[in-house]
């Protein structure tokens, strides 16, 4: 039997990550990266944020957003190195670095979010 390529799965996850990051990341960066640090809005109290974060649905959505965005980023970065810098001879090393990094960070995300209950 011919060996099936992993590429379609990676592209599917890439699209899912593209949607997840496009939907949720802009507002989260705007709030936690700018609005709260610069004092445009007062950040949520610890109790409020903890209450929101520990809800199973929040954790599930955050886990999906994190892992899919990471895979999306890894896939895109792989092709940035491939097309942008044209370092095609290092393909295997680049794949290992990109997807490996995404997997390690996803495991960290799972661990942190799981522990939050």
């Amino acid at each position: 039997m011919a060996r099936r390529s992993l590429e379609p799965v990676l592209w599917l996850l890439f699209s899912a990550g593209g949607v997840a990051s496009a939907l949720f990341v802009p507002i989260l960066v705007l709030l936690f990266g700018l609005a709260f640090p610069l004092g445009w809005l007062s950040p949520p109290s610890y109790e409020h944020l903890y209450g929101v974060l520990r809800h199973p649905l929040t954790r599930l959505v955050l886990f999906a957003v994190c892992t899919l965005s990471l895979i999306h980023g890894a896939h895109r970065f792989r092709f940035t190195l491939y097309d942008g810098l044209q370092i095609k001879h290092l393909n295997e090393l680049i794949n290992l670095f990109c997807y490996g990094g995404a997997i390690v960070l996803s495991i960290w995300a799972g661990y942190l979010l799981w522990r939050l209950s």
Binding site: A22, L23, L34, F36, T58, L62, L105, L116
Partner: protein
């Protein structure tokens, strides 16, 4: 070296122009392509930033306050401003191309591209409103 036929030692070189390493500076479309590609780095940074926030919250109020203080550091702020620009660029262009990626047929007719774009932007507004309500409301 499978490209070189075996029948002659003196096979001419293939005519293949090597694109310049800076090919993406040649046209606007290329530049916006590579800008979108680079957004991947900032998306990865943001996931790490978000996870650091989650870790701080899981450790207690003082860790959360320490995280908020750290988020006011100029380097972190600049990084997040750049991240916001890249991520918004990613989101806008992503939703703009959505009609090309998903072709929906309803009763044998293709739905107009504008409708698919609009529903994607609508989902974006809904997600944003949900986050705002969860964090600031109630």
């Amino acid at each position: 070296m499978s490209e070189r036929p075996a029948y002659t030692e003196y096979h001419p070189r293939w005519l293949r122009r090597q694109p310049s390493t800076y090919w993406w500076l040649e046209r606007r479309a290329y530049l916006s392509f590579i800008t979108r590609e680079l957004s991947s780095i900032f998306i990865a940074w943001f996931v790490v930033y978000l996870l650091l926030l989650v870790r701080a919250v899981s450790r207690g109020d003082s860790s959360y306050q320490a995280f908020l203080a750290w988020s006011r550091h100029p380097v972190v702020l600049v990084l997040n401003v750049v991240t916001l620009l890249f991520v918004v660029f990613h989101a806008v262009t992503w939703f703009k191309l959505a009609p090309k990626a998903m072709v929906v047929h309803l009763r044998g007719k293709q739905l107009p591209a504008a409708l698919i774009s609009a529903s994607n932007y609508g989902a974006w507004v809904a997600a944003t409103a949900l986050v705002l309500w969860l964090l600031l409301g109630g």
